[in-house]
Subunit: 168 residues, 2 copies
DNA sequence: TATTGTTATACTCTATAACTATA
DNA sequence: TATAGTTATAGAGTATAACAATA
């Protein structure tokens, strides 16, 4: 309050962190209203986009370790949203599929994502939103973030290095 | 891969989450190189900006609970970076101050933040960076994020609701 | 009685490594 | 021997509540 230091540089990165955290938290609220954790939501989306994928591939695309998707899939399977089907080609693998209920929920999830997006960008005009999207895409590309499917934002998004904070 | 769905809307919020996470993770790496956790870093910055503040106020500004700043301050005090001085006005309070070593480290921390910022915005031109800063500030203001000092981005930035994921 | 700081406890999330079954 | 999935365990981070000192 008393001293309001430099405003020009060194602020944008923090703004980005804060707004990113805000966006993730708000979206988590929405998924929770659907009875889903963010991990659940990301899993449903990935399986919906790549039916038949294995748990290994799923884990890779989440940026997670294979043991971590197990309880998530257990929960989703128990709720009748996902099916594990043994691969006939290689019986070590499961082929992951959405059930009809899973598909339906994914539809609601997508609607929630759209609503989230429009609320988040509410303070901006359409032109400003488009410009922001353009700049963020540019930035993401410049840092090697895949814009397409991989590394969804739900599970531990984007940690390119090893670990983020381990120095005790 | 097979089906590449809508690219227009519903992407910006995820990009924001991803890039925010990336920014936070990269900055955490830098603080770690200085021997600091993100919590340490945020604490140093706040005390540096508000010398003499109490632990209660510190916790509030972090968006943390008072019991949480205790081990952080213990660690910083042990390393000779921070001092706890009993308030003469109200002896329940401590007045928090940086030592000379703490000041020096804060300087290095600020330099690291500048470097982080410039690396993060590296893919953009100066004009694009300025435009991005403008749009993000607009967005932050629209969502009631305080641009100034409160709610630093280091400790659990910006969770406006209650809890983010508790529906098991 | 209310408040500051502290301690003790428990809960959540996550990764690591050992294990099985297939290949 | 190598790989997909699973289980068990441990570690980090965090909040809640009970506590002591001061007001």
């Amino acid at each position: 309050m008393a001293t309001t230091p430099r405003v020009g540089s060194r602020r944008t990165a923090f703004l980005l962190s804060q707004l990113g955290s805000l966006s993730a938290a708000r979206f988590a609220e929405r998924t929770r209203e659907l009875g889903l954790t963010p991990s659940d939501a990301g899993t449903l989306r990935l399986i919906g986009r790549n039916p038949g994928m294995s748990q290994r591939v799923l884990a890779d695309r989440m940026g997670a370790v294979p043991s971590r998707v197990v309880p998530v899939l257990d929960s989703l399977e128990t709720r009748g949203l996902v099916e594990r089907v043994r691969s006939s080609a290689d019986r070590r693998n499961y082929e992951l599929h959405l059930t009809a209920a899973g598909q339906a929920l994914l539809g609601r999830l997508r609607a929630a994502a759209e609503k989230h997006e429009s609320e988040l960008l509410g303070p901006l005009t359409a032109e400003q939103s488009a410009e922001l999207a353009r700049l963020l895409a540019l930035l993401a590309g410049g840092h090697g973030l895949d814009l397409d499917a991989h590394r969804e934002t739900t599970m531990r998004a984007a940690d390119p290095g090893k670990r983020t904070a381990g120095g005790k």
